[in-house]
Symmetry: C2
DNA sequence: CGACACATGTAACACGTTACATGATTTG
DNA sequence: CAAATCATGTAACGTGTTACATGTGTCG
């Protein structure tokens, strides 16, 4: 639902047309989540179908404008007033993957963790690179990037935590094995 | 793709049937991401369509078993050896929401941040409650829960960071306003 | 003119999700 | 026996995503 509401939010300022929406949306999340233009049109069609937006003529240069309806404004308002619940989020593929990896036989969990950590580290470096090369300071853009950094760091910490846990468990197992000898 | 590969992974041990897959999958992620049984069947159909699993008769009690094909084993193996890229993840609705909130006029960003923080805090409490009430120690289950906790904490930190940033910017604006007087 | 970017769509598909229909089996 | 649970499936829908078709305008 993030694109849906995102596009809706961009119409708050006033009518916009397709490509304009794409560039304004991307400008705040670019390099991380590029948005295909086609998606803007499909999403806008669905928003129109649901009565949240409506055509608003053109801007004098043939650009087909969209604007919020009353229902759209209400929907948007409800969005602002409702927190994004953690329970409602998509499944975390990495968490599931690692959880299954420690369960299923024949998986080199340690290798998996190391590979993942190095990839996540790479992403973090990419983020700092982006931050440094930022053309002009943009608050929205910076906050999104900060979110990614915070998440990436949390991921690294979690991976370390998992590895420590695995080592501890392996240590315990070895210990018990030793006792048995 | 997490359900797809998750179910695939559960077949590593040997053939399983629908409901069994659901309960084994849910056992490792339960209370956070319940999995509808119907979804198991639709997903297994698609996996069969793609040649990654195949029917394997029944277990003597009429349970329709599925098992991995060679292609399935290969696909799974590739999954284990490939990190989950941060770039490939779904858009972060919260990040986008806040980024748009600071851009669009008429949104009470501060209220949004506070509401979000209190909801995330609630989730974190729920996680610790779950951890305490855990019936029997299960490594996979614990790691998933730890992931959620790490993510939740990162989210809180990010929200604090955003708020501080907003306050600072507001302070700067006030200062400049003061200078102008 | 030819190449390129802008602009608007549409068609097709993937995955996740829910609701529903149907039996079989167990249990109070 | 009735109710609950287990089990298998299907139909329908929603969003996200890509690829393609098409037209217009601009610039070297």
């Amino acid at each position: 639902m993030s694109i849906r509401h995102g596009l809706l939010a961009l119409l708050t300022d006033g009518p916009r047309y397709g490509n304009q929406l794409r560039s304004e949306f991307e400008h705040r999340t670019a390099a991380t989540w590029p948005l295909n233009v086609g998606q803007v049109y499909t999403t806008m069609s669905r928003l129109e179908r649901d009565g949240l937006v409506e055509p608003a003529g053109d801007d004098g240069e043939g650009h087909a404008l969209y604007q919020l309806t009353e229902a759209g404004r209400a929907d948007l308002d409800a969005w602002w007033r409702t927190p994004v619940r953690r329970e409602g989020r998509p499944r975390d593929e990495l968490a599931i993957k690692l959880a299954l990896a420690v369960t299923v036989p024949g998986v080199d969990v340690r290798a998996l963790v190391q590979l993942q950590r190095s990839d996540t580290t790479r992403s973090l470096q990419e983020y700092t690179r982006l931050k440094a090369n930022q053309p002009e300071p943009d608050l929205a853009w910076q906050l999104v990037l900060d979110a990614l950094v915070f998440q990436g760091e949390a991921e690294i910490r979690w991976l370390d935590h998992c590895e420590a846990r695995l080592t501890r468990d392996a240590g315990l197992a070895r210990e018990q094995l030793g006792r048995r000898d």
